[in-house]
Amino acid sequence: MSDEEPLLEVRDLITAFDTDAGLLRAVDQVSFQVKRGRTLGIVGESGCGKSVTAMSIIRLLPQPMGKVLEGQVMFKGRDLQKATDAEMRQVRGGEIGVIFQEPMTALNPVQRIGKQLSECFLLHTKMSRKEAWEASIEMLRLVRIPAPEQRIGDYPHQLSGGMRQRVDIAMALACKPDLVIADEPTTALDVTVQAQILDLMKQLQKDMGMSVILITHDLGVIAETCDEVVVMYAGRVVERAPVAAIFERPLHAYTRGLLDSMPKLDTPRKSVLPTIPGMVAGLADLVPGCRFCQRMGREGPVLRERPLFEEIHSGHWVETCPNCFEEPA
């Protein structure tokens, strides 16, 4: 690791939702950094706070329930939490591009894709309509949509899922952002199309030098694309490490549980798969202490006191709960 300034640094982020049951913390003191040109993966089960973390960064939390209570989001040296709404509009789509999970709902169904794409250029650059249109065709070509001059006049429903996701990527990349946040960009796609999209993203990242935050629940996707990984559980980061360390030397029981429960191609057929017992507790029932211990049905002081998040090896951080943290022999 160099002492180079990270592109994005999230420090002690706490995001809560105002509900009938009170203020519930969906993200509870999350910290991580994204370096320039690198890919950070955020992995965890549904409801662990991955997407809420991402939406807190770009301030697109559902309003009025979602609130960032504490913490800083330092992007290129300034705190995005303190930026005005107008400044944020410039950041989103300009310096930070976002790729959403559902390419059907992320695009406006009643506008031609050309109009939606050129909007990015019109909002963030001084291009004329004609130039923006030309630039949009270029973007479609870049994401390898065949016959972009024709496709640009299509409506989203005329495109397949993979094509729509490419349009979504084109929109996120249109203004050459420094950071792209991709929230489950390939979850809805077939493996073959997923492979195309991941390959495309890797290539574009190499060409344009941007950083990526990739949110997914698929450890295979993480292994193939990320440099560093953040494992989230119940609103907290339980482990953070370079990708090789996560897969070869996972230190937290939850990370190990996730890795083990996935059938791999070399798992003996029809063998009993390891599982993680229990379920994630609801937001309202989460304990202040170790939440994975809570899931495992353990009792006592571990549930009361929050475990420390410590750097065990260089760059390898883990919640050092006495039950869940284990250094492999």
Binding site: V191, E224, M262
Partner: protein, 336 residues
Amino acid sequence: MEPLLSVRDLKMHFPVRGGLLLKSIGAVRAVDGVSLDIAPGETVGLVGESGCGKSTLGKAIVRLSNPTSGSIAFNGRDITKLGRHAMRPLRSDLQMIFQDPVESLNARLSVRQIIEEPLVIHSRGNSAWRRQRVDELLERVGLPKSAAERYPFEFSGGQRQRIGIARAIALEPKLIICDEPVSALDVSVQSQVLNLLLELQQEMGLSYLFIAHDLAVVKHISDRVAVMYLGKIVELADADTIYQNPRHAYTRALLSAIPEPDPRLRKKRILLEGDVPSPINPPAGSAFGHRIGHPRYEETIGMDLGLAELEPGHWVAADPCCLTPEDWEKARNSRS
């Protein structure tokens, strides 16, 4: 051994209507000549990209739709042409588990009513017996008894899938069509449901047709695997064999697209360009050869691209575009 299910040359075409009078202007060849056997106690995995016809095949087998042509024999009896009434007694042997447990459970019924419904329809036991049976079933799939009086929305995705499984096994079926049963679940929950399906198979001697797009999951649960492309099976073999030694170019591409959860294995993928071609008026020759623009594509127009047995039990479409020259030679010889 006599197969439990035997599908022969099954076709399922849907008319495409257009023009002023909504005349039929073509057909979606969703399933286009599929033959498949499932033995008692066996799991056959069915994989392929979306739109390849795997779900349509599953639905046709349980006769939720009427096949265009071909035959389906279940337990030695031809069920292709049976009407709704004649099918009813067979439904207790043929069940289905769906991908989306939210949509496949009636939100207005309590869990007890949902699981009891098949028992009521097939007039099994009296109400006291059924009550006890529902409790047993819930326990069997790992849900508390108290779940019976609650409603589907109160459960998580994994629990809802357990409810769907309890309903499917209520009548002690012989074959269950599992249509993407774990695709919507998180990995930790997915492994729980897979374990449950494997246990139930052992206990009850169930056969499964397991439809999924996650190849690692399919390999784990299946004895044999069929790979489907544009309405046709292109390769069919023992699960280990198909993963270790795939012979068809499409199977190889599909396998190489799986992201392996091991960063050391970042591999050079065989990237497929484009999407699955449309099953409306598919290419005349080899569909996959057409997609990859194979130089021998023209030859395959009008050629019989049916399955050939390369090794005992290893079937592959006899298609010069998708096989190595040696395999193509072998396939041709084995068919003549």
